[in-house]
Symmetry: none
Subunit: 227 residues, 2 copies
Amino acid sequence: MHGLKILVADDEEKMRQVIRIYLENEGYIVIEASNGQEALEKIKETKFALVLLDVMMPEIDGWTLCRKIRQEFCTPIIMITARGEEYDKLFGFELGVDDYITKPFSLREMIARIKAVLKRSNGDKNMNNNILKVGALEIKPRYRQIFLENKEMVLTPKEFELLNFLCQNPEIVYSREQLLNQVWGYDFLGDLRTVDTHVKQLREKLGSHKKYICTVWGTGYKFRVGD
Amino acid sequence: MHGLKILVADDEEKMRQVIRIYLENEGYIVIEASNGQEALEKIKETKFALVLLDVMMPEIDGWTLCRKIRQEFCTPIIMITARGEEYDKLFGFELGVDDYITKPFSLREMIARIKAVLKRSNGDKNMNNNILKVGALEIKPRYRQIFLENKEMVLTPKEFELLNFLCQNPEIVYSREQLLNQVWGYDFLGDLRTVDTHVKQLREKLGSHKKYICTVWGTGYKFRVGD
DNA sequence: TAGCTTCATCACAAATTCATCACAGTAGAT
DNA sequence: ATCTACTGTGATGAATTTGTGATGAAGCTA
């Protein structure tokens, strides 16, 4: 269990330092990356036992980076997220993530999770590949694919995340604000109506099944398969 | 979720003001404290739903204050920190902080975090996930659906809220004024008779069960299932 | 860099809901 | 029985909310 390399991607130096000290103390070799781009390059160069990824990063945010890593590598990933309602995001669909830690967290907790993930990834693979089927839709979160009547939909990242989120929580009504928080993140500063535009796009791509996404007047949207 | 008291402790007047405006707009009651001492006194006087605490304060700094509060109270605390500072302390976690926000932050993010913390501290007992059955009605607040004899009613937002409110408080008589306050909100300035119109609509949609909503002559309305 | 995709925002149109009013109907009091 | 105060109801224009196409910015790829 010693000498394993761990990549710590976080834009805050102080944060990286604290983590480095603890991890080295546990016998790991720590490589740092201060932004997403750098992280991606280092992953391509070196084989890591694990990647520790902060969600909040400038340039490339954690989710995007995670997706990019997963396109090529199966290195275990632990996300560091701000505490809040992003749980669904993690559980629901970004299943490429092996575990996550919410800030503020204790370093003891972090170490424990790292060990657990490493153990699992060696003992291998009860890969949580859970595929979800709702109506004519089939969702493979791990591959970032959604099939409509067995044909793969061509979706942009945002479209994927929005549709996936709605599908993972069918029948539940979400306000535009909630959707922004869940899908875009707390730090999105934009217009509520942005949601509408994406809903429009999704409906267009859903074609005859556009009624899966239904408007709840005065409230928001929900995914609904029945009726 | 309305009328909850929040203490904002920050030495910068401007900052407090901005936060106050935003929070009040969301229906919270805001009390300000311009330094640690003052904050501590106010906490001892009043019971707050949440404390928003800036780390950087003269006299008593945020960390010390946080510890002092925790010695006596379990009020949820959200810390406002400058980015990149003092991670060790947050890590330590021994301070019992419920969440923290790093400056600069958006007000939307702040609100979202506040709501998340409040929700958690309520143990989610406010989760109106409870499905309620009264007579031939079945109410699923989370889905924003009301079923009448197992058939979903098609309701406008106001209709939904009014019927839901009445059902959640059966047998209790409400005056038009009370209903306006509860369902429309205190800031509604309109005509009392507006309630009547909506009651009419509901009765129409209730069809043969219209007597669920009954008129209490000279007083108001109530929901009644029996008799 | 140029070309392409994705994204957020805006403005306008369309759809839906809402509050109000006037008048009809009803319960209760005298 | 008659009167008065209160409630029921249909119609209507205003207000709110949502749908949608266009547009320019930002990001990515080659």
